[in-house]
Amino acid sequence: MTSFIYNPKLIQQKQLEIEFLSFFHGHGFGIIDLPVVEAFDWGGMTEDDLLLMPQRETWVQNGTVHALRHDWTNSIVRYLNKYKIDAERAVYSGPVFHTGSEHSQLGMEVFSDSSAEQQDALGLLIEFMDGRLGGLPRMAVISHYALLPMILGEDRMAEPAIRRALSQRSESALKGLLGNHPLPALLGDRPEAQIHKLRSIFPEISPILEELTGWEETLRRSGIEAVYPDITALPAQSYYDGVFIRLYGEGHTAPAASGGQYTARKKAFGMGIFY
């Protein structure tokens, strides 16, 4: 019934989508679209596909698994792994479905390994959020997915108990699992101080920390004053392999936007706003 009633919020949402697409199109981004229903072959599913399946809305038809789009970057990565695209930068809008609910996502992707181009795109996204989505995000959490494998080693990173303790930021559990490794004690420090101590203990991670500093400066230049490093962040999908950023609005515990660097044939950066 409600779909037949004039709904100002619906008009506002469509206008917002058009403004977002136009804003990025005006900065040289190509507008893309992908099907909201995705098809998966049983035998062709990757570990990432299988990991995400329980959160997806799925059904089986004619022996093929069909799923509603879970998030745009995931769809784009799957597309890029199969097809070539010429675009250097892309912008999108549309619904995503997870854990039983429909959400709307606005986002952009930069198909380039240039940090400068990626950071420019992040600046634009924050500029749009400030102008059209109720103001600047109040805080950012920034991580780098190459950090933990370097300080813990690939073997430890493969241990499910260690991964769980890292995702819980559990000082107690990590002390038990990692013994005398300095990481658990670092979790007792303020997040800002953790990076400085990491640098002195593991000088080999300096290039990663410098990269993080570059992104932090971009966030601060965009007006976000509170930027926190997260040294125990784990990627939700294996294609995320670099910087990852979560932006939070005032009084919200769920991120208003998130995304990061990933590899799908080549290096890329993508970020989405959820509203």
Partner: protein, 200 residues
């Protein structure tokens, strides 16, 4: 002011004992004197006294920055919070208990369905699990289930109902949990609370 959701009941008693023994007279006094109040404020800390099952929800939703609850509840609920520290109180364990010792236990009554499922999956034994919300012992007494999976502290409740502990399962203790957002934004206050607790 930092807000801490506390589990009422058994765990609260255990927390009060810990506070008394470790030199926190004000926190102890304020919490001890709370009769039916669900909100207690003292020394820049607001304690919310809530049902144990609800502690992770208050923390996940950001109503409380921190929470103290049992690892049994965290094992069962899988809430999206940071499980920062094991705390040195609230110790007990999960156990499988029955009226008679049987070669196999095929029907299990429990409040902890997810945990029980993981236990029997680990031992590769198929069982039927019946969810109960309380008085779980009764299920084994009247024969609704072959055994129960429940928390055991002293074992007194089991003995009073003619049940015996057959398998000692995972240990349980209190855990300090944190909201994932507050972990960053309130880190100084969280660290101050941990230092005050003197658990390290």
């Amino acid at each position: 002011m930092i807000t801490i959701a506390l589990s009422k009941g058994r765990l609260l008693k255990s927390f009060l004992n810990y506070l008394e023994q470790n030199g926190h007279p004000r926190w102890h006094g304020a919490l001890k004197s709370a009769q039916r109040e669900l909100l207690v404020e003292t020394e820049g800390i607001r304690f919310l006294l809530v049902k144990g099952d609800d502690v992770p929800t208050y923390v996940e939703e950001g109503i409380a920055e921190l929470g103290i609850t049992g690892s049994d509840i965290l094992a069962e609920n899988g809430t999206d919070v940071n499980e920062l520290l094991e705390l040195p109180f609230g110790r007990c364990h999960f156990a499988l208990a029955s009226k008679e010792e049987l070669p196999e236990y095929r029907t299990i009554a429990t409040k902890y369905v997810n945990y029980a499922k993981s236990v029997f999956d680990r031992s590769e034994k198929p069982v039927k699990i019946i969810k109960l919300n309380g008085s779980v012992e009764l299920a084994a007494v009247i024969g609704m289930a072959d055994a129960i999976v429940d928390i055991v502290q002293s074992g007194e409740t089991l003995r009073m109902n003619g049940l015996q502990e057959r398998v000692v399962l995972d240990p349980i203790n209190a855990r300090l949990i944190a909201n994932k957002h507050a972990f960053f934004t309130r880190s100084a206050e969280i660290r101050a609370f941990i230092n005050e607790l003197r658990v390290n």
